[in-house]
């Protein structure tokens, strides 16, 4: 059976065995329940046989959730006491599930683990798994937003390398805009996505929330600089004031030269390769996000693996996380999904090591910074973008915009302030 069963695991198996005997169904091995989303859920299944061979006492049951319904499904499962043993979780959701008390602390297990090595992970990504100084998740794959650009158009506009600072980026955009003329633009920053603006904001030293995450800090000088730069791009007519849905086919428009800079994430490495014809693969390249002075920070995104606090199979759950964290398994996971691995040592092997278009991600992930770890963050970011959209469309000035963002953030954080004031320990 299990190599070295703890008493608890043994008891769990006993209970499970008798349950299985009662129902008369299934084998002698209780399934370890693992929930994963979207494409990762499909691929996880293919990674399980090797794990089960190495752990003969464990059978893993992978349940695939669609991304669009995953968040609601996890909350509902929590309310119904039906969460699985191990779960994939978007790292922006972590604070919320920690606030619910749904997740197991992992500090102790990491300290004694021979596989999970915090030093190998990108520090900004690792930090997204820490709430109030405690570790609750292990990164599974990572994500950040950076520049995809038209190398050929940039070269024709006189730029042999991608811009590295905001000032360079502005002049590169001006040069491209002059080249393509009135029918085109230099950049695409879709108005319905908060990530481009958030990336600019994270490049500043000021925090986005103040008072221990109790109030918005959008009126602070750092965010104002980021927003002013964002506005400048639209005011100079360098980017079209549109949402992504209004673009039609993004890849066609990029190939046509309608825009030359696009701030987006790693899944588009695969999409650009698939959707642009082979003969035109040389026209595009990636680069780290320009910062106020030299390459700047980016969003620390991605997904983590967590152990559910109420699980009765925590040891097996942890072994599964360890298995999925091994560099060679992460390499295979990348080959199957295109999801970037969180460990630097997994980047040393082919195909990632030789991929010059993925290299910008490796570079920028080293500077990735987490968004504020409060459960309300996703909604605050959505409100931030909706106000920024109003500003770009000319309905609000910069000063009014930052005040409005603060007002909306403060309203969303009202409950959190009340809880902080009460001194309730649950608030992360």
């Amino acid at each position: 059976m299990t190599p070295r069963p703890s008493r608890r695991a043994a008891l769990g198996q006993l209970a499970a065995g008798s349950l299985a005997a009662c129902s008369g169904a299934g084998g002698s091995r209780e399934a370890l329940r693992f929930w994963a989303m979207g494409r990762e859920g499909e691929v996880a299944q293919a990674l399980m046989p090797a794990f089960e061979r190495a752990n003969p006492g464990v059978r893993v049951e992978v349940q695939q959730l669609p991304w669009s319904a995953a968040h609601a499904k996890l909350l509902t499962a929590f309310a119904g006491g039906d969460l699985p043993d191990v779960c994939q979780i978007g790292n922006t959701w972590l604070a919320e599930f920690v606030a619910l008390g749904a997740l197991e602390r992992l500090d102790g297990r990491v300290a004694t683990s021979a596989v999970v090595a915090p030093g190998e992970d990108f520090p900004g990504i690792w930090a997204t798994n820490i709430v109030s100084g405690r570790l609750y998740g292990i990164p599974w794959y990572v994500d950040t937003r950076l520049l995809f650009y038209r190398r050929d158009l940039l070269a024709r506009a006189g730029w042999d390398a991608a811009p590295r600072t905001w000032a360079q980026w502005l002049s590169a955009m001006e040069a491209v805009k002059a080249l393509v003329g009135a029918g085109g633009y230099a950049a695409l920053l879709p108005l319905n996505e908060y990530e481009p603006l958030l990336t600019l904001a994270l490049q500043q030293d000021d925090p986005l929330l103040r008072d221990g995450g109790g109030r918005g800090n959008f009126r602070g000088p750092g965010f104002r600089r980021a927003l002013a730069f964002y506005e400048e791009i639209f005011r100079r007519d360098l980017a079209p004031p549109v949402s992504e849905t209004q673009i039609g086919n993004l890849y066609d428009e990029f190939a046509r030269g309608y825009f030359s800079f696009y701030v987006t994430g790693p899944w588009n490495l695969g999409e650009f390769r698939r959707r642009l014809p082979p003969a035109r693969q040389a026209i595009w390249m990636t680069a780290p996000m320009p910062g106020p002075a030299g390459p700047g920070a980016g969003i620390a995104g991605g997904a983590s693996l967590v152990v559910v606090r109420t699980s009765r199979r925590k040891d097996a759950a942890w072994r599964l996380i360890e298995y999925l964290s091994r560099p060679e398994v992460q390499g295979r996971f990348y080959a199957l999904t295109g999801d970037l691995p969180p460990r630097r040592d997994a980047w040393n092997d082919a195909p990632l090591a030789g991929d010059i278009k993925a290299a910008a991600f490796l570079d920028q992930l080293g500077r990735a910074k987490p968004a504020p770890a409060v459960p309300e963050w996703e909604r605050i970011a959505t409100e931030m973008q909706s106000v920024a959209e109003q500003m770009v469309l000319g309905r609000l000035g910069l000063d009014a915009a930052v005040l409005e963002m603060d007002r909306r953030a403060d309203r969303l954080l009202e409950k959190r302030r009340w809880m902080l004031a009460r001194g309730a320990g649950a608030a992360p």
Partner: protein
Amino acid sequence: MRGGGAGWAFVAPALAIIGVFFFAPVAAAFALSLTDFDIYALADLRNIRFVGLGNYGELLANPLFWQAVGNTLYFVILGVPLSICASLGAALLLDSRLARFKAFFRTALFAPVVTTLVATAVIWRYLLHTRYGLIDAAMGAIGVAPIDWLGDPRWAMPAIVLFAVWKNFGYNMIIFLAGLQTIPEDLYEAARIDGASAARRLWHVTLPSLAPVILLVSLLTFAGYLQLFAEPYVMTQGGPARSTVSVLYFMYEQGFKWWNLGMASAVAFLLFALMLAVSMVQLAVARRRGVA
């Protein structure tokens, strides 16, 4: 009153069931709508606060809620008349003495009602596809530029209306058909003898005789269409640009996406008030015309 005890004893089981499964949940939901039940309260019930009518006030001040109300009314105002006309038209055709294969057509036209919404929605997504869809291809054949039905905020709701009408008209058609068959033949005969044309017979005989049925159908359809949810959930996820977020979809987002159950319950009661108001107006109009 004599025998009152026995009467109460007989209805007691039914009353108990209604009480437990209807009135108790409704009362609990109303109580919930007066609190700020959210994920913090889910973690620990001590984190719940009584906020009185605060949720209602916040909703009425929330432009996204009003957008959802607007979207829902747009759907209802476009969808209900279309749906009733389609049902009535199909019922008249089926009721006509010239019609052949009545049983076959009745079944065929009723089929969308009994098929699974999710399955038909998937097929409709193909039909409405900009590049591969039959609908845009057919419009292209007569020289109309293709429409990005589900991707364009201006067209997404009309596309949902089209789908919903197709999905639902069969049900009302059956009710209308039953109503048509109760109209005495001698009324038509008398009208014909007086020289009334087919159009005048429809206007002066069929429609007045059907009035109670039309009232019933419009009440049911209004109530059903105000609860628009599954169609946008499956077809557009509320998008593009929130143009297909209905009141119920908004409630779903509040309740199950953000877990603001207090707020979601308040949405439910506001929707109930809206539906009650619409039904009252309909009944009042019907009463003035002497139908009900």
